[in-house]
């Protein structure tokens, strides 16, 4: 989307707002009713209570201080107060223009409705481990994505945000459960989707639930093993009309930029690199001091970047029909040159009662996004020489001039960032339509049709350039059109019955889902001009490619809930899944679960403990599966490629991947025990869970020795080994202060321990390949998954005799090409007098032991303040950028850490000498690069002010709130790279850093 397009959009919003406000002010004068809503259980002001007037479409909601103002048409008007978890109230206006309303909790939060797989349950009836994410806290913050909103909000849920604009955060529930795909299943409005969280507008999210234990996830069978995130979007409510407009503007900046050498420092280093290898020095570096600062490539790469988010929604309804419609526009520039994200989302939800027993409804999300991923290499911006100017004298980008030994060979990273375009334009649709019919009382059938459609076009354009010795002879255009369609058909039948104190709910159903995806791509080179960037303008080497993939899943589902008098509760579920991804005889898998709960607080002997509102213990066990192994892993397929004879291209057919026709489901067995308590009139709520999950028959990419002739990159999945995760989760929500000044605290804390129990094989699997010829990590029985593996450093050789007395590292007669004083000493772990690959050991665990978050929110007379801290502990990061930025072996810039390099006996025992080509392999993967990845972040700090109603009521606003917010304000960490949030592998390899964002926003309600 162009800049022009976005500014037009802003203009339309402004016009719309103006007209709306203007039309409001000329309406006839009505009775103005103001008041305050409080919670009967604790006297706290209640935010977000809907206030409607029967028979009209007007309405408002209470603000953070519980205040509201509403225009009633007449004295006989009836005001309706509703809020989730509270008993609705109706008040006739009469003579009262000032109302104090106390809302009675529907037996507190416990009556809250929780969305579980294929249905809902009251929170108090839950027997499994399900985390509810309070959207009430989140919706007052400036957050561009749903993933960011989830971070730190639920125990056991690790969210790793991505700095790249428009890229979804990574979610891990209860640790890494498999070597294979670990992403939880995402269910949006009842439809399992493959679209990312970014498809949704944060403002449309009504509730988020995370299903964690197997008794909760087994209903999703083969897709439940990694946990399930269920998101429900907002729906209209009867007799309440509401219009909301939200806007924020934010500036983003890089949290921490690594310090690089300036031109003078680099030239001095480079002279040393060459001298230590007996190589000729660059004549241009004869006087390093005269070179000064030079080019700051990283500074050129990173710029503060703006972000704006507009949301408008309206909702309303009557007893028969309700609707919710919203529009959202997000425009976000990236802090890295030529990156950004723009997104337009429409949401339309409705429900209609055709007649008493027949109901239809729909959810529809439409989304258009444009992600500009640019052509940035943060590492190359670090490594580019500060002695090279950004531009040549003629204004064209510069490039290395002399031989690469002196000038390096990095193509101008700013030139590439500014001239090469990489973008993805997406059109996404997630829609569902359901019909529900009550055959007889309590016996309902429901049929749902779902459709997910994604269309996305990716495009790469590179102009021709001649930047000194960096030459791209031909301009280049590549485009790829992708289409992905999934349809779903669910049919469910439910029956509920209470006989005396026995309550029974039964559900049975089937689900069919099929996916088909296609792509078509093409490229050309040599365009008439760099301004004509369309396929038709290219002249040479046209290419064309395309293919298609598909999968299908057929499932039968059943669930039974039973409780005796709300005291003893039991749930059993079963799912029988058939998947096209497995071969004959292995297609079907059975995934059962069961759980029990006991509400001890309902027992007579507990009634004396009056401070206790509720106490429940839970236990559950279940089996889930994982089928994310690609579409055709079982099939023994041959690939078509090319060869040529005497200039004629000929067809060739070759085996690509070793087939494994016997591949089966991965099974995960999880046991969970939990405890929930609510105390002191629900002012303190505690949840504790403990779990053990064992992944059996773990689907792992096979480690195929190349000598088989099969690819060791495209490898089949095999069922191997067993992995265990065990952990504890603890959540406490506390309302510390109530009254005029309120203070709430939420704290969650999770511990997870991961271990690979067996691989059915004595040979560990390698992982963490970053293009080096050592793998950085291993998967080995008895160790956490992906634990770093490498050499162990033991200081620096200070003298040649120390080299001679140590185990042989890199021998040689050539003094310039062998281990010498100043090189790193590696430990001879097996004491065989030679340093080789047998001297490698485990060097660190990338999986955090602890994740935690603490939120404190305060409110006083219209002011609200929330301080959100979040962190992880116990994990290590392999800082792979330092393999390059502290190598001191070639003509590439280095970090300022290399200023402390070894230059003679006693000068350093940690940073080695500078020498061309690094004969000792000081850069071999070792614990030198393993750093502590623990951090504590001030994730969010938001200060808001809700304007007093008397200031705004003339303009027909029901609420106006302004706020300032900071995201990722400060991070406490020992990590030396850009940012410790580097992804689940723990390897920081050219990662786009997470950014800090400072925003101002406004929430308007009408």
């Amino acid at each position: 989307m162009s800049k022009k397009h976005s500014s037009n959009l802003i203009r339309y919003f402004a016009l719309f707002l103006f007209l709306f406000i203007a039309s409001g002010t000329i309406m006839a004068q009505k009775i103005s009713v103001t008041g305050k809503v409080t919670d009967a259980s604790n006297g706290l002001p209640l935010f977000g209570v809907s206030i409607g007037i029967t028979g009209t479409s007007s309405g408002t909601i209470s603000d953070v201080a519980g205040q509201f103002t509403i225009q009633a048409p007449s004295k006989v008007s009836v005001l309706v107060f509703t809020s989730v978890g509270y008993t609705p109230q109706q008040i006739v206006v009469g003579e009262n223009t000032q109302l104090n309303i106390t809302m009675v909790p529907e037996m507190t939060q416990l009556e809250q409705i929780v969305v579980v797989g294929y249905g809902t349950q009251r929170k108090k009836d839950l027997t499994g481990s399900i985390a509810l994410v309070s959207t009430r806290e989140i919706k007052s913050l400036a957050l561009p994505s749903v993933g960011d909103a989830l971070q730190g909000r639920a125990a056991g849920v690790q969210v790793i945000s991505s700095g790249t604009p428009g890229t979804d955060a990574t979610i891990r529930i209860r640790g890494v459960g498999t070597i294979n795909n670990n992403n939880p299943l995402l269910v949006i409005d009842g439809v399992p989707v493959s679209s990312g969280l970014n498809t949704l507008n944060m403002n449309d999210v009504e509730s988020m639930q995370v299903l964690k234990d197997a008794s909760a996830t087994a209903i999703y069978g083969s897709r439940g093993a990694n946990g399930v995130v269920i998101i429900t979007t907002k729906r209209g409510k009867a007799d309440q009309s509401h219009l909301a407009f939200n806007y924020f503007f934010g500036m983003q900046k890089a949290t921490h930029v690594v310090d690089m050498l300036n031109a003078g420092e680099f030239a001095a280093l480079h002279n040393e690199i060459m001298a230590n290898a007996g190589q000729p020095q660059n004549p241009a570096y004869a006087d390093p001091a005269s070179l000064g600062e030079g080019t700051d490539w990283l500074g050129e790469m990173f710029d503060p970047a703006p972000m704006q988010n507009f949301s408008l929604s309206y909702s309303g309804g009557n007893e028969k029909t309700n609707v919710y419609v919203s529009g959202n526009y997000l425009t976000q520039d990236g802090v890295v040159t030529n990156t950004g994200y723009k997104k337009l989302t429409l949401q339309f939800n409705s429900d209609t009662k055709i007649f008493d027993k027949l109901k239809f409804g729909n959810s529809l999300t439409l989304n258009n996004d444009n992600k500009t991923s640019g052509n940035y290499s943060i590492r190359n911006a670090m490594l580019a020489l500060p002695t090279q100017p950004l531009y040549q004298e003629n204004g064209i980008y510069s490039g290395p001039i002399q031989q690469p030994m002196w000038d390096g060979d990095i193509v101008n990273p700013i030139g590439l960032a500014n001239t090469v375009d990489n973008s993805t334009l997406g059109y996404n649709l997630i829609g569902s339509l359901y019909g529900e019919y009550e055959i007889i009382k309590n016996l309902k059938i429901k049929s749902t049709l779902g459709l997910q459609a994604n269309f996305w076009n990716s495009r790469t354009w590179a102009p021709d350039y001649h930047w000194n010795s960096s030459i791209n002879e031909n301009s280049y255009l590549y485009e790829r059109y992708n289409k992905n369609l999934t349809w779903l058909w669910d049919n469910m039948i439910t029956y509920e019955k209470a006989i005396d104190k026995h309550n029974i709910a039964l559900m049975a159903g089937m689900s069919a889902q099929e996916n088909e995806s296609h792509y078509l791509n093409g490229s050309k080179i040599s365009f008439a001009s760099n301004l004509t960037q369309q396929m038709d303008n290219g002249t040479l080497q046209p290419t064309l490619g395309g293919s298609t993939y598909s999968w299908s899943l057929l499932s039968y589902i059943g669930r039974a809930n039973y409780n005796y008098n709300g005291k003893y509760l039991a749930t059993a579920t079963v799912r029988y899944d058939g998947s096209s991804r497995f071969g004959e005889g292995n297609k079907w898998g059975l995934f059962p679960s069961g759980s029990l709960a006991w509400r001890i607080s309902e027992e007579e002997f507990m009634k004396s403990l009056t401070f206790l509102n509720s106490m429940k213990v839970r236990a559950g066990y279940g089996v889930t599966g994982n089928q994310e192994i690609g579409d055709y892993s079982f099939a023994s397929a041959l690939q078509t490629i090319r060869y040529n004879f005497n200039n004629s291209i000929v067809n060739a057919v070759v085996p690509q991947m070793m087939p494994n026709p016997n591949v089966q489901w991965e099974e995960q067995r999880q046991a969970n025990i939990g405890f929930d308590a609510s105390m002191f009139k629900s002012r303190i709520e505690v949840t504790v869970d403990a779990y053990i999950k064992n992944t059996d028959n773990m689907l792992v990419p096979m480690s195929v020795p190349v000598s088989t002739g099969y690819s060791d990159v495209y490898v089949p999945y095999i069922n191997a080994g067993e992995m265990e995760n065990k952990g504890i989760e603890f959540t406490i929500d506390s309302r510390n202060l109530v009254g005029d000044f309120t203070w709430n605290t939420s704290f969650n804390f999770s511990y997870n321990h991961n271990v690979v129990k067996s691989l059915n094989d004595t040979v560990p699997m390698t992982s963490g390949s970053i293009g080096l010829n050592y793998n950085l990590a291993l998967i080995q029985a008895g160790h956490p998954v992906n634990e770093f593996y490498g050499f162990i450093i033991d200081g620096i050789f200070q003298t040649q005799s120390e080299v001679d007395n140590h185990a042989v590292q890199v021998p040689g007669n050539d003094p310039y090409s062998r281990t010498s004083a100043g090189d790193i000493k590696f430990r001879d772990l097996n004491n065989d007098g030679i340093i080789n690959d047998l001297d490698r050991a485990f060097t660190g665990n990338p999986n955090p032991s602890f994740i935690f978050a603490l939120n404190n929110s305060f409110a006083y007379k219209g002011f609200d303040l929330s301080v959100f801290l979040q962190g992880v502990a116990g994990n290590k990061i392999f800082n792979a950028n330092r393999l390059y930025t502290e190598a001191m072996s070639v003509a590439q810039n280095q970090t300022t850490a290399t200023l402390d390099r070894w230059t003679g006996e006693g000068t350093s025992n940690s940073m080695p000498r500078a020498v061309f080509n690094d004969p000792n392999k000081n850069t071999r993967p070792s614990d030198r690069y393993v750093e502590d990845g623990s951090y504590l972040r001030i994730k969010n700090l938001t200060l808001g002010y809700t304007l007093p109603t008397e200031w705004i009521k003339k303009a027909h606003f029901s609420s106006v709130r302004v706020y300032a917010s900071g995201l990722n304000i400060h991070t406490f960490t020992k990590y030396t790279g850009f940012d410790p949030e580097v992804g689940t592998s723990g390897i920081d390899n050219n990662v786009y850093p997470v950014t800090a964002t400072y925003s101002f926003g406004i929430n308007l309600g009408f």
Partner: protein, 491 residues
Amino acid sequence: MKIKIYISLVLFITLFVSCSKDFLEKSPEYSVNTENFYQTEADAIAAINGAYQPLQWPKLYNLRLWTPDIMAGNSIVGAGGGSDGQETQDQANFVTTTDNQGVLDLWRGPWPGILRCNIILQKVPGMAISESIKNRVLGEAYFLRAQYYFILVRFFGDVPLVLMPVEPGDDLRPFRTSKSEVYDQIISDFTKAIELLPARESYSGSDLGRASKGSAEGMLAKVHLTLGNWQLVVEHCNEAATLGYALNPSYASNFDPSNKNTVESLFEVQYASNGGYDFWSNENQASWLSTFTGPRGSDLAAGGWGWNQPTQEFIDSYEAGDQRKDVTVFYEGGPQFDGKDYQKSYSMTNYNLRKFIVSKSVSPSYDNSPMNFPVLRYADVLLMKAEALNELGRTSEAETPLNDVRSRAGLTAVSGLSKDAFREKVLHERRIELAFEGQRWFDLVRVNSGAYGIDFLHSIGKTNMSQKHLLFPIPQKERDANPNLTQNSGY
């Protein structure tokens, strides 16, 4: 009321069972499967075409099989001032470690080719196709399998000998087989290829360039040369000579992309200018040579990354009047290329490689060079024969093939040399004639069990060279995947 319930339930149950049985049957539509392939002649030919294809890869002839000339001291990496080429620099400095990318590539290149041959040798004999095509395809498969093992055994010594396709459940972690057994298999495979393959002249059009009887004879001569079986070298060189090979009148004709698979060529790896495949991918059909070895910072060729810069010592080793110098290397004051002068500032050594450079009129972009790579030329056959005859004590008889090669280069005939002097002469001739064609390293490590190479490399200042460097290490990445592989000594 009841009826309504029944109708609803019946409808609902219909929904349950309405999915057809083949709903869960999905198979890839972009590939053929092993069950329905291997039926027709076209299938057999497509399969054998695929067995040639790994030869094209940068893991083999597009990069790693010509960079050994840098180890052998003919040239320096050049481009390797950045991190680019550092693995080759390490090889050339003889500080190669088990994580060397070049070594890993050489290990990974041949095995897919061996698998493709093994599948053909398993499937094709039972196919109902014409005997002539069946024999040709099987002959090509034996030839290529021997070719791939010959690459492995010379770089790594003992290697696993895998002669059947494997599946999960089979033993995927073979031990190394002794070098002599591997050579026995190579000899057996080339011998079968000689029996099955047609002669070069039976190929035409788009079959020109396939392995022929002569290719196998020549390669078998080279295997025996490596093993020092001098009599067999002479026999197979003579057999090859009867198949119609001859030297091209001009040395330069061997490096002309418009004149491929000439009468001098026994076997070459095919490249084509038909773009459309990613230059860096395994599907790429274009040669990397022109792009990699083009002088850096010049506009002589598309690309021009300055690899493989000849050393002064190599330049000085040309005899005066050797016409091959102007074809092989760029030097300041030498003949123009495409009407442009070469400048010594393009290179750290003042020289660049010229042999494989393609004019921009042929290859306008870096990813488009159609030049084939010579694996075995008749000049090589003549020099092998000369060397073998000399070793058999038939030095005067050996002069003829040597002088055939020298006379084309514009040099005078040699005669009357002692056996030792003749050996030096023929090895020097091989160095110059076959310069940068990936042959020099193998000569250095085979003559006198490698002592010749160690002495030579020490004499040009490569003092790190030692006995262990005659073989590469087994890549650590592969030993991690297969712990049954032992390491070569010294690594």
